[in-house]
């Protein structure tokens, strides 16, 4: 199995002004994230708002440049500070956004939305571009007559199909989906998820699937990365994570996800309070302010990501075997 995309210790720190004459503070939006993504596989990134999921998407698509850390694409190290490298990577790593009502230009017809990436990145003729756009429309389940319509004439699910088509126009190897179905209704959500899975099989796409809905993640992902305050707290394959979640935060997330069938419900672990501000993160383990298994070590020492039972976990309580089994 070949790794398509490999991230090593990615960091993004933003400088924020705190007020006149005060020194600038640094927000660690992303603080050391590493993962390996294989062809035709899906890596899901989960966590609450503010945990750095979308910052990760911005770094991987090179909308933002990482403060530290490196990217390997197809086994080759890529220097993200060189414009030529950035340009070639952007063709290979595409993104679809959360809200299809905001991500499509209302003044452009679907045809020109789909052809724009080709105009910028290739030297195809107008006729060839149109042919490619029509082919792609069909691939995502739309009809040729949609080519000359405007975005407002489509429903949310159809718009998300258009966004997916645009993302695939340059035949990328990696598609980053930032909450692609959270703005859609349940029945439409299932249609779009099915489309994403079909396309993955057909085109051997690798997905980075950012979501906060664990029941969707359970369905679509191969591996799961759980993030909290810019750091990875648990990184495991899907079966391990959903059958034996270890990190207290992962357990709390799973237990908070509502389930239809009573037999699938697990005892609710109620998290106190909210995620702390990344401007002023807690000392030690970032999760210790909300964790029920906290002790003095957690408050002082930041846990490292250590492989335990086939999963990478950053938690003192897990290493010290202080956690009760589920």
């Amino acid at each position: 199995m070949t790794a398509v995309l490999q991230a090593t210790d990615l960091k993004k720190h933003y400088a924020v002004t705190q007020g006149f004459l005060k020194p600038k503070a640094s927000v660690k939006a992303l603080d050391g994230v590493s993962f390996t993504l294989h062809a035709a596989k899906t890596l899901a990134v989960v966590g609450e708002s503010g945990c750095g999921k979308s910052t990760l998407a911005k770094l991987l698509t090179l909308i933002e440049t990482p403060t530290e850390g490196g990217l390997h694409f197809d086994g080759e190290f890529k220097d993200v500070h060189q414009p030529a490298v950035v340009k070639s990577l952007r063709r290979q790593i595409q993104i679809i956004f959360q809200n299809p009502y905001g991500s499509l230009n209302p003044r452009k017809k679907i045809g020109s939305i789909l052809e724009e990436p080709l105009i910028i990145n290739t030297d195809l003729s107008a006729a060839e571009r149109k042919e490619k756009a029509l082919e792609m429309l069909q691939k995502v389940g739309l009809r040729p007559e949609h080519y000359s319509r405007y975005p407002h004439m489509f429903s949310g699910g159809q718009r998300q199909r258009i966004a997916i088509a645009r993302g695939l126009m340059l035949n990328p190897k990696v598609l980053i989906a930032d909450e692609p179905v959270s703005a859609l209704d349940v029945s439409v959500q299932a249609q779009v998820l099915n489309l994403l899975m079909d396309l993955q099989e057909e085109l051997k796409l690798a997905y980075i699937f950012i979501s906060h809905d664990l029941s969707i993640v359970e369905h679509i992902a191969d591996e799961v990365l759980v993030m909290y305050l810019g750091k990875v707290v648990e990184y495991a394959d899907k079966e391990t994570l959903f059958t034996a979640p270890k990190h207290p935060y992962t357990r709390a997330l799973l237990s908070s996800t509502p389930r239809i069938h009573p037999e699938q419900r697990i005892e609710r672990i109620q998290l106190k309070g909210e995620m702390p501000s990344p401007i002023d993160p807690p000392t030690g383990c970032a999760f210790h302010t909300r964790c029920q298994f906290v002790n003095d070590r957690c408050k002082q020492e930041t846990p490292e990501l250590i492989t335990t039972d086939g999963a990478q976990i950053a938690c003192h309580a897990v290493q010290e075997a202080r956690l009760p089994y589920l």
Partner: protein, 326 residues
């Protein structure tokens, strides 16, 4: 006598030539101490029907009903002023987006005190003490300092707690929560739902929980009302309805959830979208999307049938094994 008794409530929008029924003859009862869930996709009329109960539908919207009674008192014949004494006091509502339902120009304390002033009066000092007690009750940390906070200084979960404090300020007998957790993270969603259910039990309130999240309703509600394109298609007790859905739409919604497809690659999606104002089909409104539809479904509109506690609007309701009689 039921707390709320709605019979054949309809809401029309549009002009005389082109009337559009956003809500079509829905009937609903809520008892004291009962949690009723209303589920449906966007455009199914969930929010409009609750706004109609609150008396918040403005011109050109037109509300008609055979009965709209709160504690036996008919609301439609009341004068504006008399009705306003009930809504906001005995019937309160929580809206979907806490961030935009709070007034950005006033402090949290002022906004809660306003609700108390309108319905209960009292001196400023008494109102302040009451507001503080409410903030404590909904679990806001450091309520004294939060009294003078503006909405932009609060997180989404905190704002929703403030909205709940405002809604329960006058000890309502019926609380309508319209997608109270849609904009929130799962862990915060669990906190807010637990808070709502605690308050509901303490005060023996009737609670109408409107949401598109079937799993949330399955966990929180006693009875469920499923809506589609302005009509109630199925009602029943929560465990029965989710275990043995009788309407094809309920079945399709449940099937399209990732939870129901564990072990399968593809989700069983329901094709198409909810019909809009101008493309309502003749006959059963679900017929173009229904896999069991017959010629009768396409020409004739079904009416709700079955015992009062388990009504279905379908000619061929599903049996317990999940197939139709046709």
């Amino acid at each position: 006598m039921s707390l709320l008794d709605v019979k054949n409530l309809s809401v029309h929008f549009g002009t005389g030539d082109h009337p559009f029924k956003a809500v079509d003859q829905i009937s609903l009862t809520v008892e004291a101490g009962e949690v009723v869930g209303i589920v449906g996709e966007s455009g199914s009329g969930k929010s409009v029907s609750s706004l109609a109960v609150m008396g918040l539908i403005d011109f050109p919207g037109k509300v008609t009903a055979d009965a709209l009674a709160f504690e036996g008192q008919e609301l439609q014949t009341l004068s504006e002023n008399d009705r306003r004494k009930i809504t906001g006091k005995d019937i309160a509502m929580i809206f979907q987006e806490p961030m935009s339902s709070l007034n950005p120009c006033f402090t949290v304390g002022d906004q809660i005190m306003e609700a108390i002033e309108v319905h209960q009066g009292g001196s400023r000092k008494e109102r302040k003490a009451k507001a503080l007690a409410l903030l404590k009750q909904v679990g806001i940390p450091a309520p004294e300092s939060r009294m003078s906070a503006y909405p932009h200084q609060l997180s989404g979960g905190m704002s929703q707690r403030v909205m709940i404090a405002m809604a329960i300020a006058c000890d309502p007998k019926l609380l309508i929560a319209d997608e109270p957790t849609t904009a929130l993270d799962v862990t915060i969603q669990a906190q807010i739902i637990d808070l709502l259910l605690d308050l509901q039990r303490q005060k023996n309130m009737g609670l109408i929980l409107i949401t598109h999240d079937l799993a949330l309703v399955a966990e929180a509600a006693d009875r469920v009302v499923v809506m589609y394109a302005g009509q109630v298609v199925e009602t029943g007790r929560v465990d029965e309805l989710f275990r043995t859905p009788m309407h094809p739409y309920t079945q399709a919604l449940l099937n399209s959830m990732p939870e129901s497809a564990i072990g399968h690659k593809r989700l069983r999606a329901l094709g198409g979208v909810v019909p809009g104002a101008n493309d309502r089909p003749t006959g059963c409104l679900l017929s173009p999307r229904c896999e069991y539809a017959t010629d009768r479904c396409r020409t004739e509109a079904p009416i709700p049938s079955g015992p009062i506690e388990r009504q279905v609007r379908c000619f061929f309701p599903l049996s317990a094994s999940g197939s139709t009689a046709a």
